[in-house]
């Protein structure tokens, strides 16, 4: 495992999180501390051990393909910061388009 300092601005970009220069400095130090801490896992022999995604044996779940009552259109949109004619409204996505 690599425990070099995290490239915080790069990771923040991946996480869609705007950080101030002060936050980059603060979290950089704290995350390095967390990584030093989790690096102890390197000691643990996991050769030929399967990865566990979830502890309860579970299989894919299917349901009948039938229409059942769900969240209404109005309820689904009620918490949206912006909605228009029955849709979520977002800022423009394609640069230059107007």
């Amino acid at each position: 495992m690599a425990s070099d300092r995290i490239d915080v601005p790069h990771v923040a970009k991946l996480a869609r999180l705007a950080l101030t220069p002060e936050e980059v400095e603060l979290y950089g130090g704290q995350l390095a501390g967390v990584l030093r801490f989790v690096d102890e896992l390197r000691e643990l022999d996991t050769e030929s051990v399967a990865a566990t995604a979830q502890v309860i044996e579970s299989r894919n779940v299917v349901r009948p393909d039938a229409v059942v009552p769900g969240l209404s259109h109005a309820d689904a949109l009620a918490g949206a910061p912006a909605a228009q004619i029955g849709f979520f409204r977002v800022p423009k996505i394609i640069a230059g388009a107007d």
Binding site: A15, G33, V55, P91, K92
Partner: protein, 493 residues
């Protein structure tokens, strides 16, 4: 009957026998919350009108001859569970004004069983924390010492029950978020087997670990709440379809015939003489009740924290991607949609949530995925295998619930120091096991002036809730530790 101290069993029985009404219970609890919550800060939102509405419905159903196991029982709900028409904040600015458009299955099942919703309780933001200090929306104080934290992340739900501002409550536990605050607040906190209780309507933090469970002042009350909400839910594909054994009517009075595992790696000698003595006494009390104590080994458990602090942040970074200013909650406008996402999340999330998103994003990112995330998943396999091996030698495992009693505000400024609070609960969570904390004594903490409670953690094999609650009841009945301390809040008078 004093509603503020009565058990859920007593209230349900009195309402069912029409010795009192749900309406009277509701009024008494509304008045009590108004009296004590200024000091406690357990609630972010109270719902007195909704509580009265439900009380009227319960009284009508009782009059019509229905049997309701939680008739008139006041319940507080952690603010990461949806209750239709009520705000559900997760202790975060990003959801500060969000109104839930539907009700979580666990909550709905309690309401169907006759429970009365008091309100929504404070929590560490998105359930990330062990003290409730990471809430962006309020401070919750420990009912046994207002200068100390209630624990977390379900701190409000624990403080409400411990501080007599609720009869029972719901919390959620990902790495210890029910058991640690229960220990800090001198109450019972129970995390069922992963998948036993539907997560539908619980705002997701780490989906392979999150589980809803009850807080109560007695094991019997915790069992009553569990019985009302456990079981398969078509809305949650990970809820398990294994028949639920009722627990509240199968509580034990002794531990004869049971082997209790004491974990070699969890020796309590380093926790200080008083704490060590408290746990040794708890183990010998289990023996006195008829259990055979056996030493078990969990050689990989010490890697639990490192494993957890990769898996949980990885899952959180994925789950919290949905908070982007489009479908719900806060939006901060930007020059384009990407800018809007980044500014919204920067303004809406607090420091611990940002830290965990960054750790998780890093652990899942190209080049680090195998070294961190997959490695942690393999470590998880080893930890779960340790428990499975241990349970060939014992029926239950006993340990501390937390390494210290409640600490003061701002005592854990280093994130890793806070993470260490969950040393004993996290391995159990990684293995998905049912587990609870039951009061086991009190010690005067460093810098403190009076005794603060400690919790005994009991864990048992997957789906053995009846055995676990039964044994905890026998211990509680014989030791009565919860009754030896009184909360320091204004009580009914």
């Amino acid at each position: 009957m004093d509603v503020t101290t009565a058990s859920a069993r007593e209230i349900a029985s009195a309402v069912s026998l029409k010795r009192t009404s749900a309406a009277e219970i509701a009024e008494a609890m509304i008045a009590q919350v108004a009296r004590v919550d200024g000091e406690l800060g357990a609630y972010l939102t109270t719902t007195p009108e909704l509580m009265r509405e439900h009380a009227a419905r319960v009284d009508a159903r009782i009059a019509a001859g229905e049997t309701l196991p939680l008739a008139g029982v006041p319940v507080a709900i952690k603010d990461n569970m949806c209750l239709r028409g009520t705000r559900t904040t997760c202790g975060s600015k990003i959801l500060e004004h969000w109104i839930a458009p539907y009700t979580a299955t666990a909550v709905q099942r309690l309401l169907d069983a006759g429970a009365l919703p008091i309100g929504k309780t404070n929590m560490d933001e998105f359930a990330m924390g062990s003290s409730c200090e990471n809430s962006a929306l309020g401070v919750t104080r420990n009912p046994y010492d207002r200068d100390r934290v209630p624990g977390g992340s379900s701190g409000g739900s624990a403080a409400a029950v411990g501080g007599l501002a609720a009869t029972v409550s719901l919390g959620s536990d990902t790495g210890g978020s029910i058991r640690e605050p229960a220990a800090f607040c001198n109450i019972v906190g129970f995390k069922p087997t992963y998948g036993r209780v539907s997560r539908y309507g619980l705002v997701a933090f780490a989906s392979s670990l999150d589980q809803i469970g009850p807080f109560a002042r007695t094991v019997e009350d915790a069992a009553l709440v569990y019985d009302a909400m456990a079981g398969k839910d078509p809305h949650d594909a990970t809820s398990v379809d294994i028949p639920v054994e009722s627990t509240a009517d199968h509580l034990r009075h002794d531990l004869r015939g049971l082997r209790v595992g004491i974990v070699k790696e969890f020796a309590t000698g380093d926790l200080g003489a008083e704490i060590d003595a408290t746990y040794r006494r708890a183990y010998s009390d289990l023996e006195r009740l008829g259990a055979e104590l056996v030493e078990v080994e969990l050689p990989s458990a010490k890697y639990g924290l490192a494993t957890y602090y990769l898996i949980a942040p990885a899952e959180c970074s994925s789950n919290l991607a949905r908070f982007d200013g489009v479908r719900y909650g806060l939006r901060v406008e930007g020059i384009d949609v990407g800018d809007m996402y980044e500014k919204t999340r920067a303004a809406g999330f607090g420091p611990e949530v940002k830290r965990r998103i960054l750790i998780g994003t890093y652990a899942l990112s190209s080049g680090y995925y195998d070294a961190y995330y997959v490695k942690a998943q393999k470590a998880r396999t080893k930890i779960a295998a340790d428990f499975a091996r241990a349970f060939t030698k014992c029926d239950l495992i006993a340990s501390p619930a937390a390494s210290t009693p409640a600490f003061g505000f701002n005592a854990k400024s280093d994130p890793v120091a806070m993470y260490l609070m969950d040393y004993y609960t996290i391995p159990v969570s990684l293995a998905g096991l049912p587990s609870l904390s039951v009061p086991c004594g009190a010690v005067i903490p460093e810098g403190g002036s009076h005794p603060m409670p400690l919790g005994l953690q009991l864990a048992s094999p997957l789906f053995s809730e009846r055995l676990l609650l039964g044994a905890a009841h026998a211990y509680e009945r014989a030791t009565k530790h919860a009754e030896k301390l009184a909360p320091r809040v204004a009580v009914a008078g």
